[in-house]
């Protein structure tokens, strides 16, 4: 072992600089002491990389890492659809809610023509819980039958990816692309979190350095990242066009990120990325995290779903939504090319976007109109909960976000309509 003796110089210099108890070294002197300490106490041994090390390294090299990222996201999505869609929602929940819960409520709730029947049970002729649109029918079906399994499996896969050490590697890999839209690699974390729920995602934008980056990320999150609840509903309502909707959102994410990064003044600094070693996730930690995240989500989500349906039903009863639909009709029909009834779901989207998509399925539309309106609802506005956390990050940013949002909805909605016309589908 070689031993590096520190020079006498730096220490005496330091002694001049400080008192007896609190003395401050220069950074060079400190590093010299560190070297001396390490030389005495650490013996490195001969280190040969193992297959696992080399495989780990290949996952951050672009040529091999991008296929791995594609596969990881594929697995993420596939596990999500198999568990939440096929097994839980279609396999069990639809049966429970449509076969037992809805018929039972419809038979015991008095007076199908009354206002309280309309609010709590919804359409007396509905044969499935999604389209009944009562607080106790659609509200419970959406929150427990669809959103709960979706969120559970989402957070499980997310936690495993994170705890195994793959997520930071994905961040390194995505860095080049994300820099083009004014962000850096770690923006992938809020982006993926946003696929579960925008609320923790907005909180996670704090890992980005500058105000500019946080603003871009928050706005893009609110605009183009559908949350877990929306994904679940999308799969239930428009399974055949989820791919196209996603494509529209992805293009929008890149395009408007690029534009925003050029319009907004500010820095986009490099970040020192720290990649921990791959390791097996610890069962207890995964379980604890999964529980914390699901618990926090449910506490926030279920009241909002129920309250959202209640409010929308009340607004319908009060005639507010039909009036708004009339008012905004020209914009929707001429500019976006969707039926005027979509105005209602767009108002509902403010409360919870997933509800809005469920409502859209009740309006007769062509496939183009359905895709266009689902994209619109997704980008249109964050739900109230997201709104609240964004407000917590600063009201000026929130107002700017809203301005960007309205502009983008207007431009992008028109663009999709234009492309639809060119392709002859609109």
């Amino acid at each position: 072992m070689t031993l590096r003796q520190p020079e006498a110089g730096p220490v005496s210099a330091a002694a001049d600089a400080g008192g007896a108890n609190a003395m401050f070294l220069s950074s060079d002197a400190r590093w010299e002491m560190v070297d001396a300490l390490a030389a005495r106490t650490v013996s490195p041994g001969s280190y040969e990389p193992s297959l696992a090390d080399v495989v780990g390294e290949l996952t951050v090299r672009p040529l091999t890492g991008i296929p791995v990222a594609l596969a990881a996201l594929y697995a993420f999505w596939s596990i999500f659809t198999s568990f939440a869609g096929t097994l839980m929602t279609d396999g069990f929940m639809v049966k429970i809610f449509d076969g037992y819960w809805l018929p039972w409520l419809q038979s015991v709730w008095p007076d199908p023509a009354s206002w309280h029947y309309f609010i709590f049970v919804g359409n007396p002729l509905a044969d499935n819980s999604l389209e009944a649109f009562g607080v106790l029918t659609s509200g419970f079906f959406v929150s427990i039958g669809v959103v709960l399994p979706a969120v559970l499996i989402f957070y499980l896969t997310m936690t495993i990816l994170e705890d195994s050490g793959y997520l930071p590697r994905l961040a390194v890999l995505m860095d080049t692309f994300l820099h083009k839209i004014g962000l850096h690699g770690y923006a992938i974390v809020p982006a993926i979190l946003g696929l579960g729920c925008n609320v923790p995602a907005v909180t996670a934008t704090r890992i980005l350095e500058t105000k500019k980056q946080r603003f871009i990320m928050m706005t893009l999150l609110a605009l183009f990242i559908p949350c877990g609840a929306q994904l679940g509903i999308m799969m239930a309502v428009i399974p055949e066009s989820v791919g196209i909707v996603f494509l529209c959102l992805l293009i929008g994410f890149g395009l408007f990120g690029f534009i925003l990064s050029r319009l907004i003044p500010g820095e986009n600094p490099e970040i020192l990325v720290d990649v921990p070693a791959y390791h097996w996730p610890v069962k207890e930690y995964v379980a604890q995290k999964l529980w914390n995240r699901t618990k926090a989500f449910l506490r926030e989500a279920i009241p909002f779903v129920l309250f959202g349906i209640l409010l929308v039903n009340l607004l319908y009863l009060g005639g507010v939504i039909p009036a708004l639909a009339d008012l905004l009709e020209p914009v929707f029909v001429v500019w976006f090319g969707v039926p005027k009834e979509t105005a209602g779901p767009l108002i509902a989207a403010f409360l919870r976007k997933d509800l809005a998509i469920a409502q859209l399925s009740n309006i007769p539309m062509t496939p183009y109109q359905l895709v266009a309106s689902v994209v619109l609802v997704t980008i249109y506005f964050p739900c109230v909960a997201t709104f609240v956390v964004m407000l917590r990050e600063g009201w000026r940013e929130l107002l700017a976000s809203i301005a960007v949002l309205l502009t983008v909805v207007f431009i992008y909605g028109g663009m999709i309509h234009g492309i639809g016309i060119l392709l002859g589908v609109a």
């Binding site: 297959l51 290949l58 596969a71 198999s82």
Partner: protein, 168 residues
Amino acid sequence: MKHNSRNTTIQRTGPVSRPGTIYSLYIGLLGLVTLGFGCADILIWAGASNGFSWGILAISGDDFFRWAWGGVVMVCGGLLLLSGAAHAATSLHQAAKAAVGVILVWVIAGTDFLAMLCAAIPAKASSPAFLNTLDGFLAGFAPPYTPALVIFPFTLGLIRVFRSAVHR
């Protein structure tokens, strides 16, 4: 086997042993088949044919996500296997490339299996019961299978190569 595989896998240079050549051929063949299956997934999804079925193998090509995206992952897996095939038994770097390729195939096969499992547990939509019958559950695993599941058993042979490299 003449050479102890524990040693042959970490030697970066040295004579290519007979088992080494066999490993390379095997990995290369696996890569070609995976590549072919991946291309078939994408082509059938794109509308080149209305589904394909041969023996226990079937590619329905109905879903964008499964067949287009999954097909790209299979193509990448095949290419990685091919590029890692040469000297896979003697070069750690080559073995690692092949390992990444195999992992991609495993991801597709694993998610395909999970999809079968999740579809087989609940009873059919028309039946009033919640859980499937045992016969119905087992029938959910009957052929035909997706290409990744068909290849899967053949990739298990490679674990031997990789394990010797992991433990050295």
